[in-house]
């Protein structure tokens, strides 16, 4: 403080105020830290956050209708569909102009596919009409209403026009409604017909089965982890290899192996029949159902449960148990009151890991799930790769992501995320 005068600012050695100098040094430090993590940050941003974000955005994006039929959409907005009358000549004329341009750009069939998600039959209406509209003169050939009605009876169906009108917005809630077994109709959101309701069932089933799998992993994994943690090092390492060996084997191989084990002409049934426990005529059905999925997935995910539990248990000193017993606790009390509470962080970490992995599992349920053991992810895969309804797939994915985040939040509230340890 010797070189300060009165109440002036504290100066650094080079004469600048100390505060500023300090801030600059800190800033430099921060910049350097930021630069160091910049490659990773950029990588995560470009390869993870951005693609996922843009994929999720598809669940509400609906530019295609307004982009392909710009004139029609504007005029159709003024049309009152409740009167039961078809739109007037001006709408049909606008449609002729839009369709002519769309056919030239080969975009009409894409729009047809989009609208076919909402109303069956629109796809072929657009495809078939496109071939003929190509030959029209979109300005001088009117009146177009008569021409369109002659072209295909679909253009005289008021439901087609209502569908276009309802789904003409650039942002839509339609995909999210579809994802929860509802649909966006001209009269507002409605439940899907009962024979098409499937997605809510699949969501519930995915959650329920993931929980069953998590619980069975805890029950099976806990004793194994305990033995691993309490054996002498050399034996423990050997056992550890047995735990890790399946972990290194291909997922498909393990799933197929379960098929061989569990099927009706499979190993387990053969042994049971040979032992005389089961009649040859009524062999047990253990695969292509929920049971098969639970067994195969529990086996596949077990290492994800054992490893965190093992590493937590390793840190619990043996002496605690001995101390408890020397103070008069029975084996059970010593375990339940002293050992178990300390191993909970491992159970927590393993459970979160297994649950989140299983909720998005796809390949195992597909192979061994039959009809009642498939998950929501199988449906997402179908919409991504077969039906190309990426909007619906994105909505389903967004809901799944939301559910995981909510569960994570709930876990944090109830157990506390600080209580999770991977080692």
């Amino acid at each position: 403080m010797s070189d300060t005068t009165g109440n002036g600012p504290v100066l650094a050695a080079d004469g600048t105020p100390l505060k500023r100098s300090l801030a600059r040094a800190l800033r430099r430090e921060k910049t350097r830290a930021l630069l160091l993590i910049a490659p990773l940050l950029l990588f995560v941003l470009i390869s993870f956050i951005f693609p996922i974000g843009s994929m999720l955005f598809r669940s509400v994006e609906n530019d295609i209708v307004a982009d392909t039929l710009p004139n029609t959409v504007v005029l159709l907005a003024k049309w009152d569909s409740s009167t039961g009358d078809l739109p007037g000549e001006d709408v049909y004329a606008a449609m002729a102009v839009d369709m002519f341009a769309a056919v030239a750009a080969k975009k009409h069939t894409r729009l047809g596919t989009r609208l076919n998600y909402e109303k069956t039959g629109v796809s072929s209406l657009f495809r078939q009409s496109g071939r003929k509209i190509k030959k029209w003169d979109p300005v001088n050939d009117g009146p177009y209403k008569a021409k369109f009605l002659e072209l295909h009876k679909g253009w005289g169906d008021i439901e087609v026009w209502r569908t276009i009108q309802t789904h003409s917005g650039r942002v839509t809630s339609g995909y999210f409604l579809n994802a929860i077994d509802m649909q966006k109709t001209p009269d507002g959101p409605k439940a899907q017909p009962e024979d098409k309701q499937i997605l809510i069932t699949l969501f519930k089933r995915t959650l329920f089965m993931s929980m069953v799998i998590t619980v069975s992993c805890v029950l099976l994994g806990y004793p194994v982890a305990w033995i691993l943690a309490n054996l002498p090092m050399r034996k423990a390492n050997l056992l550890m290899i047995l735990v890790l060996l399946p972990f290194w084997t291909s997922l498909l191989v393990r799933t197929s192996a379960w098929k061989v084990m569990l099927q009706q002409q499979g190993v387990i049934n053969d042994v049971l029949v040979w032992l005389g426990l089961v009649n040859d005529a009524d062999r047990l059905v253990m695969i292509n159902n929920q049971f098969g999925t639970i067994v195969a997935m529990t086996h596949i995910l077990l290492p994800f449960m054992i490893l965190p539990m093992y590493s937590v248990m390793q840190t619990i000193p043996e002496t605690y148990l001995r101390a408890a017993k020397s103070l008069g606790a029975t084996n059970w009390t010593a375990f339940w009151r002293v050992y178990f509470p300390q191993s909970i962080p491992g159970i927590g970490a393993g459970s979160i890991l297994v649950f989140i992995l299983s909720i998005g599992y796809y390949i195992t349920p597909e192979i061994v799930g039959g009809t009642k053991g498939v998950f929501i992810s199988n449906r997402i895969a179908y919409h991504i790769s077969s039906s190309l309804n990426w909007g619906l797939a994105a909505a389903l994915g967004a809901i799944l992501l939301g559910v995981v985040l909510i569960l994570y939040w709930a876990y944090d509230k109830i157990v506390g995320i600080d209580n999770v340890k991977l080692g």
Binding site: R110, S123, D195, I198, T371, R379, N389
Partner: protein, 365 residues
């Protein structure tokens, strides 16, 4: 310094030269025995003739989604893709496949018939160049047929649990199953799709499928029904005829064919939209060669799928390795089935999403 510069320049030159001289083409197909038949019948003779290197990519199963992703990224790396007819329609609708002028781009038949006449009805979409006819038909375990009973003949025997008890395997999708259900419930062939368009028709098909639902194992990959039959897990299974052929003729399994009401399906090429003109010219040259009358007939030496050209049928010869006559194993052979069913792809393009949702909901019940 000069040395480094020379080195750099010559390396750059070598790269430039390399990319010009060695022409490459990436062809996407299904893998396995099918890709092998294409390699033998098309790729090898074409490479020998033109010097173009052909790279095989076994991605046809995911082709639709991958093509869309490539198209959106504006980086199409495939030159030619083998897909089913239904997917070809979908890709064409989505603008992901290029339209083909069949008469201008493909070779005429040896007798001068134009390509579009030679392929005829097989051209189900402007983007589609047909290649083979295959069928989804039934195989059954010959050793599991009950004593004193005629072996099953076709699709309708699947619904006959009394005569043929035991498990069945069917494809886990509505296409083919809905049609068979209606046909075997007494709907006339020509009325099937009109019936299936109505709510009552769909309910009727599901009611028929309900009768065998708890005896059915549902498969999703085409190797599964073959494995199920080989293990004796099921008595009858729907499967692609080529796979059944290799199981019976090449692996000598106790399996027989039940051809009646086999479901014809097509497989062929599409050119992805958005490839450069230079590559397009090369692809068209290959297509012209690989889909001519002789080449299509050659493929049938290696796999039991029928050539899509009418003019190729008389040229189908013997199996390249087994030496057996291939004609009787073709789905198109008239002796095989009294009734055949031709899938209406354009109808399915409209109704697939709707009926698939209902089908999945029905399965989950």
């Amino acid at each position: 310094m000069t040395f480094t510069k020379t080195l750099l320049a010559s390396t750059a030159l070598a790269f430039a030269a390399g990319s010009v001289s060695a022409e490459e083409m990436t062809i996407v197909s299904w893998g396995g025995a099918y890709s092998k038949s294409q390699l033998k019948a098309y790729h090898e003779p074409y490479s020998a003739k033109s010097g173009v290197t052909i790279i095989n990519d076994d991605s046809s199963a995911e082709a639709v989604a991958k093509l869309r992703a490539m198209n959106e990224a504006q980086n199409v790396t495939w030159d030619l893709v083998d897909v089913e007819a239904a997917d070809a329609i979908r890709l064409c609708d989505e603008g992901l496949a290029m339209e083909v002028d069949h008469d201008a781009d493909l070779a005429a038949a040896p007798d001068g018939t134009s390509a579009s006449d030679d392929f005829g009805d097989m051209i189900v979409s402007e983007c589609f160049v047909p290649q083979i006819v295959f069928s989804t038909t039934f195989g059954y375990r010959t050793d599991m047929v009950p004593a004193g009973v005629e072996p099953p003949k076709g699709a309708c025997d699947v619904f006959d649990l009394k005569t043929y008890p035991g498990k069945r395997a069917l494809n886990k999708r509505p296409i083919a199953n809905m049609e068979w259900a209606l046909l075997c419930d007494g709907v006339a062939y020509k009325d099937v799709y009109a019936t299936l368009e109505t709510e009552e028709g769909q309910a009727r098909a599901f009611a028929k499928l309900d009768t065998i639902k708890d005896q059915t194992v549902w498969w999703s990959s085409s190797a599964e029904p073959i494995q199920l039959l080989a293990d004796g897990e099921v008595f009858m299974a729907s499967a692609y005829n080529g796979r059944l052929f290799s199981m019976i003729a090449e692996q000598k399994q106790p399996v027989g064919m039940a051809w009646d009401w086999q479901m014809f399906d097509l497989d062929g090429w599409i050119i992805p939209a958005g490839i450069s003109d230079e590559r397009l010219a090369l692809v068209k040259d290959y297509l012209n060669f690989a889909t001519d009358t002789q080449r299509l007939a050659d493929q049938a030496k290696f796999i039991s799928y029928g050539p899509a050209r009418a003019s190729s049928a008389p040229l189908v010869g013997k199996h390249a390795e087994l030496g057996i006559d291939m004609a009787p194993h073709m789905p198109t052979d008239p002796n095989n089935a009294e009734n055949t069913f031709v899938n209406n792809y354009n109808w399915w393009a409209d109704y697939r999403d709707d009926i698939d949702a209902k089908f999945q909901a029905w399965l989950a019940k």
